[in-house]
Subunit: 357 residues, 2 copies
């Protein structure tokens, strides 16, 4: 015989042997006195949807609601998308509870919607696999709200994409024991710099610039980006004023240039070689362990630079992460917190990867 | 013996047997009286770079300029990026001339920089393979400037990406001889619509909506996007007011919704089925010949919708085209020219594809 619930002030109470049937054995709701349990609307909707709960009676109106009538009321914020993800993870064999007491004793912090338990575990086993946040594809996410965990995005046709979000500090061993040359002859062109016949190692070992092909030199002449040239000029490697090159960068790129220079510099200092990510629509692709350009190997990360106050659109996340996945790289967002005009800045590194629960 | 040129009011004149050596046999410049020719600065730079021209004398200052001194002056707008692409295509065995008289008799219209000739042909053969436009990765392109031809983008590290731009009108045979059902029961939720047990054909044959899985129905219940639901309601297929659904779309998506609805409707009218392109970061993926969802096959296009006045950033183009290429689809931009409040609108369809010259 299947039961009825009573919808009153945000939860659905179910009596009789509900505790054993729904909570103990299948992880729905939280126990009240005796065998009664309380269900979040999304849990009640799922039991209605499965036919396990026959109806829910609205305490206020006395109406008897089936699945259709219940979800048509959209009980609770973002009910539609939260129900779709809840049902999807249930159908994949996972139990999950609202990320709040009393459903779970120690709810995850941040904007989490659900606590997802390890496969085969439930709310009473005291283990949480990850915090899950759920949004519709039209809901923007401020970068400041990124947390370790999983983000589920429900698109306009109700398909779900899962992203695993983690902190990712890039480190490497590139150029560790190599000293840069001094005062190489260079010309500043409109938006790039030509370095005339620098020592071969500048390209071969530390992977700065791009050789100008097809002409005879003792050493190859290199074209450098304004970022590379500013970094090199600041370290005395070029016969150019660092400030002049940096100014040119700001002229052609605006404030974005300083943000990117901050990240470029930090990556170099960490032994990671950043090269342009233009072909992937990113700011940089990175190489962690460059010994020589001959044996370069595969670049590991795609890095996109944003100000710390940036707000992501889910569609852009889908695009970046999908592309990175397609070229076997990891998408990393570098969020630059500028501490005023001295250019001193802090960086947060977040990786996003597609996940199949 | 190698020659010298004379740089005077925008062109470099070379005498002696220059016409036969550089123009007739290798497609540089245009002929003047006798054996003299005139070279565009980029052509002169290339001959200097190759060592074929020994120096260029600046008529004004009398200075004798080698390759380094000549390019350091950046003779002409965007000289750096134009030189890089000119040299790249030359190294690939193509001849090209500035897209202007007297270099070529009938220069291509629009913003073209060069006329590229078919392999083995030159400026005197009266054939143009394509018009080439060249920009740096930081130069935005107004949608209104898109033309049939090739766009070369030079990134900050001087690597070049070529895009083939073409007009692409989507057409198909989907749903041609199928009539829609009438007044199906439906509920409007926050940002989607649930259609309760419509005829199976609505999903199976015309591919509207997404079945709500895991529950027993005579017919599957469908979740539709607000676009699908508006389109269906406008045709009397749903028991919902089209205006109500459209209003909701505008609430959750703003003006973007009407643009996307215009394109969605036009695609359906052309026998093409648009489904969400969210997972690819696009507005739609499209299926030209849907007979049944069982044998759906591969979607051919990714469509991104923009207003006609949109301005593209090259980096976004690189991202879209790269992703589309990676999933074996063609990227198409639908530019919507709104003709005022009546929602009547014209659409231009442009495809961009990666090209290796």
């Amino acid at each position: 015989m299947s039961l009825e619930g009573r919808f009153d002030d945000g939860v659905v109470r179910v009596g009789s042997d509900a505790r054993q049937r729904y909570h103990d054995s299948r992880g729905y709701g939280y126990p009240l006195e005796g065998n009664e349990i309380a269900l979040a609307p999304v849990e009640a909707a799922h039991l209605l949807y499965r036919g396990d709960l026959e109806a829910v009676v609205d305490a206020a109106s006395g109406e008897r609601l089936g699945f259709r009538e219940f979800i048509a009321r959209e009980p609770g914020e973002d009910f539609g998308v939260r129900f779709l993800v809840y049902a999807d993870l249930r159908s994949r064999g996972f139990y999950l509870s609202p990320a709040a007491e009393p459903w779970v004793p120690n709810p995850p912090s941040g904007e989490a919607d659900f606590a997802v338990f390890p496969r085969g575990k439930g709310p009473r086993d005291g283990e949480i696999a990850y915090a899950l946040r759920i949004i519709g594809e039209r809901t923007d996410i401020p970068a400041a709200e990124l947390r370790e965990g999983v983000l589920a995005v429900v698109d306009e046709e109700s398909e779900i994409t899962y992203f695993e979000i983690g902190q990712r500090d890039p480190t490497g061993t590139s150029g560790a024991d190599i000293t840069l040359p001094e005062n190489c002859e260079a010309d500043l062109l409109a938006d790039r710099v030509v370095v005339w016949e620098p020592p071969l190692s500048l390209y071969e070992q530390t992977f700065y610039g791009q050789p100008l092909e097809g002409r005879e030199y003792d050493e190859p002449t290199l074209q450098c980006s304004l970022l590379e040239a500013t970094y090199l000029a600041e370290r005395g490697a070029l016969a150019l004023e660092a400030s002049t090159v940096r100014e040119r960068g700001r002229e052609v790129e605006g404030e974005r240039f300083d943000r990117r220079l901050t990240v470029y510099t930090e990556l170099r200092e960490r032994g990671v070689v950043p090269k342009t990510g233009y072909k992937f629509g990113a700011d940089f692709r990175t190489y962690a362990d460059v010994e020589s350009v001959e044996n370069l190997g595969h670049s590991e990360l795609l890095v996109r630079v944003h100000p710390a106050a940036y707000v992501f659109e889910p569609r852009d996340l889908a695009l970046d992460v999908r592309l990175a996945h397609g070229v076997r790289k990891t998408m990393v967002f570098a969020l630059v917190e500028s501490n005023g005009s001295d250019g001193d800045a802090g960086i947060e590194w977040w990786s996003l990867e597609r996940l199949t629960p």
